[in-house]
């Protein structure tokens, strides 16, 4: 009977507090992850929103193509109008 009481004491004074302590640590760790994940989500949303203007690059590409074509025509005309440099 004495050993039975000793076992009860160990269970109530050692095992139960240890279980509570370990589980509380797991819970605190899980709760600390939540704000971090929310911050990552907000950052990813902002990054995705910043890229909304990316399709405008297609317009830029078209404009550059037209500009270079205009420059090429302009240069071609100058090539006809102006004499070449003489031999150095």
């Amino acid at each position: 009977m004495t050993l039975f009481w000793i076992g009860n004491a160990v269970l109530l004074l050692v095992v139960l507090p240890l279980v509570v302590h370990l589980l509380n640590g797991v819970l605190r760790a899980a709760r600390s992850i939540v704000p971090t994940v929310e911050g990552i989500a907000a950052t990813a949303a902002a990054g995705s929103k910043d890229l909304d203007a990316v399709p405008l690059l297609l317009t830029t590409q078209e404009q550059v193509t037209q500009t270079v074509a205009g420059i090429a025509g302009y240069g071609g005309s100058l090539d006809v109008i102006l004499d070449d440099a003489g031999p150095a």
Binding site: L12, L27, V37, A41, V54
Partner: protein
């Protein structure tokens, strides 16, 4: 039931209750984490999807701008010659001759002539077109490229500095006459007054 058995049951029951409470709370927090990560995955997927064509588009733009710059530089060298072309660039952007022309590596070794005294403003304006291309922003040595604040000054500096640039005290017009502070003796080369011959009046 003995008292010891009752205490044992209470102890086990307390442990089970603690396990249930903390494990359920942990499960709820993990569900929040999963929901947040799902949201992250959605946004990251959007980023990947939106940025997918950027590389090709930017590469194409750079290739076209490179081609434009190469064509303009080639035209400039063809029409003005390599030495004068370097001088033109140097005239528009002082210090740019050190960087040289992109497609003409030998241009860095040329001592740039003072083109501003030879070519017209229109020619220099044409020369500027190739150096002000947006692609120049990615070139090394950006200091020698377009200077927005000093661009006008660089253009005006090509011409003789009279009153249009940093007007100072120019020499005043000389005072002439008998009371002038500086009296000049007649020069030997000045022909003397010819003798007048008597006219023949009949």
């Amino acid at each position: 039931m003995s008292a010891a058995a009752a205490v044992l049951i209470l102890g086990v029951l307390g442990i089970v209750l603690a396990l249930v409470f903390f494990l359920v709370a942990t499960i709820l927090e993990l569900r929040k984490i999963v929901a947040g990560l799902d949201e992250v995955i959605v946004h990251v997927g959007g980023i990947v999807e939106k940025s997918a064509p950027v590389n090709d588009v930017v590469t194409t733009i750079n290739e076209q701008l490179d081609a434009g710059v190469a064509a303009l530089e080639g035209l400039l060298v063809k029409k003005a010659g390599l030495s004068d072309a370097v001088g033109l660039v140097e005239g528009m952007y002082p210090g740019a001759a050190a960087a040289g022309l992109r497609d003409f590596p030998e241009s860095t070794a040329i001592d740039p002539p003072r083109i501003g005294e030879v070519y017209t403003k229109g020619t220099l304006t044409l020369a500027r077109l190739g150096r002000e291309a947006p692609i120049a922003a990615a070139s090394p040595g950006a200091g020698v490229l377009r200077n927005v604040e000093g661009g006008s000054w660089a253009a005006r500096a090509l011409y003789p500095s009279l009153r249009h640039e940093s007007p100072g005290t120019l020499p005043r017009s000389p005072v002439i006459g008998a009371d002038s502070p500086v009296q000049y003796e007649p020069h030997e080369d000045v022909p003397k007054r010819r003798k007048r011959f008597q006219s023949k009046h009949s």
